[in-house]
Amino acid sequence: MGVVQGDQMVLNIGPQHPSTHGVLRLQVRTDGEIVSEIKPYIGYLHRCFEKHSENVTYEQVIPFTDRCDYVASMNNNFGYVVTMEELMEIKVPDRVEYIRVIMAELNRIASHLLALGTYGLDVGAFTPFLYMFRDRERILDIFELTCGARLLYNYMWVGGVSHDLPKDFERICIGFLDYFEPKIKEYNDLLTHNKIFLERTADVGVLPPDVAINFGVSGPNLRGSGVNWDVRKDEPYSIYDRFEFEIPLGEGEFGTVGDSFDRYWVRVCEMKESIKIIRQAIKDLPDGDVFQTIPKKIRPPKGSIYRRTESPRGDLGYYIISDGSPIPYRVKMRSPAFTALSSLGEIAQGWMLSDVIAILGSLDIVLGEIDR
């Protein structure tokens, strides 16, 4: 007996659409409201990052990494410099490591705030967006105080950081954390436990763990499916092994493990863990230099390296090949959002059109990083 099929319709979403988080185009084949096939088209923001890297010196690549994942620039800088330092086998001063961790975790909070705020927008809640942007601005203020930029920092350099922390940084940062910690409860009251929000997200777009691993999904999306995998814990880089923090996992509190709500909830919990890390790092922040003396022109030894770090979106990998000259032979960025988006076709199948938006929002993609 064949399945009765209505007339199928092909619908085009994007590249200009408020809920595609940038310039993503989705070609959706629908049967009424039910999505039977979904094909993402990307590349509308392909800015030739890898080509640029082959034409500028190693230091000059860092500003381009900023612009790849513009929501979490610090983490992108971090990944690149960690990879470079591993390739060159240099050890940076302890103070630098602590500053980097503080900045990366602050940026993780900022990135998650943006992700959660826009996710609220996607499913029809406008107010949480304003609340989260209010607090995100405070983090940007801290960054501005430290390095002068609001969004693209170029703060972490190979061998150190560009500026030392400003005077009174500890007080300002702790002040922010004390302010921010109770706000998470406010978000929960406002968005997380909202009946409509739960209806829109719980049990929607379930991503089973084996499918997630097969599709290379990483970061909060993978942990939302209940897989305990965090590069910070499992392949510790920098000084993450010195801190105590938990890895929040999706538990299917309101639905099935791996649904959109779990991915959202993991992000909320991760903000709390980041606060913990920052508090510990500020407590032990040592004095000292913020730049390791290295030659002005970086010439790493011949060779190649692949290293991944944990960005707010997942495993951010850099593949760097050096031929001994001051210009990289090849820099490849393995972007976490790229792989997460490739799984959309699999998980969004069979859901209603409006759920596709909810699923897409829960994957937290940044197009700059996908297209590079």
Binding site: Q16, G22, K51, N55, F129, R134
Partner: protein
């Protein structure tokens, strides 16, 4: 309007149609929510809590049909350039374009090796105001919008242009 001033009661305002239309248009330029890249995040920050664009009459619209101002926020690539043009053509007159950030203005950091980057959005659509910066701060964007308001205010839509 010297002669007519104070001739009527307090709640009557005398103005030329041109100025009135200019005033109405300039104080409510709804903008097209059109984020391309990094600058879009700053555009969102400008529209959100702290900077609050709505206080100068700007409301984000997600359809080009409802918008007066297109803020091109971010890098325009070759693949996107044709779409940008199409979206501009879909907007109803009068329409204005703000090029936000150095990428939209000239290709920005990608001007040299970006084979796939359009070196300035003014190649495909006419631009009214350029806002420099990478990315521009929200204050800079607001400044650009105020400049655009001045420009709209100065227009004389009903006056026949001398040839």
């Amino acid at each position: 309007m010297g002669v007519l001033e104070h001739k009527f009661q307090d709640n009557v305002v005398v103005a030329s149609m041109d100025k009135l239309i200019g005033w109405a248009r300039s104080t409510s330029p709804w903008f097209f929510q059109f984020g391309l890249a990094c600058c879009a995040i700053e555009m969102m920050a400008t529209a959100a809590s702290r900077h609050d664009l709505m206080r100068i009459g700007m409301i984000p619209r997600s359809s080009p049909r409802q918008a007066d101002v297109m803020i091109v926020a971010g890098t325009v690539t070759m693949k996107m350039a044709l779409r940008v043009k199409k979206l501009y053509e879909q907007m109803a007159d009068p329409k204005y374009v703000i090029s936000m950030g150095s990428c939209a203005t000239s290709g920005g950091p990608y001007w040299q090796h970006g084979y796939h980057v359009l070196k300035g959005v003014d190649i495909v659509v006419p631009v009214d105001v350029y806002v420099p910066g990478c990315p521009p701060r929200p204050e800079a964007l607001i400044e650009g919008l105020l400049k655009l308001q001045e420009k709209i205010q100065a227009e004389r839509p009903l006056t026949r242009k001398s040839v």
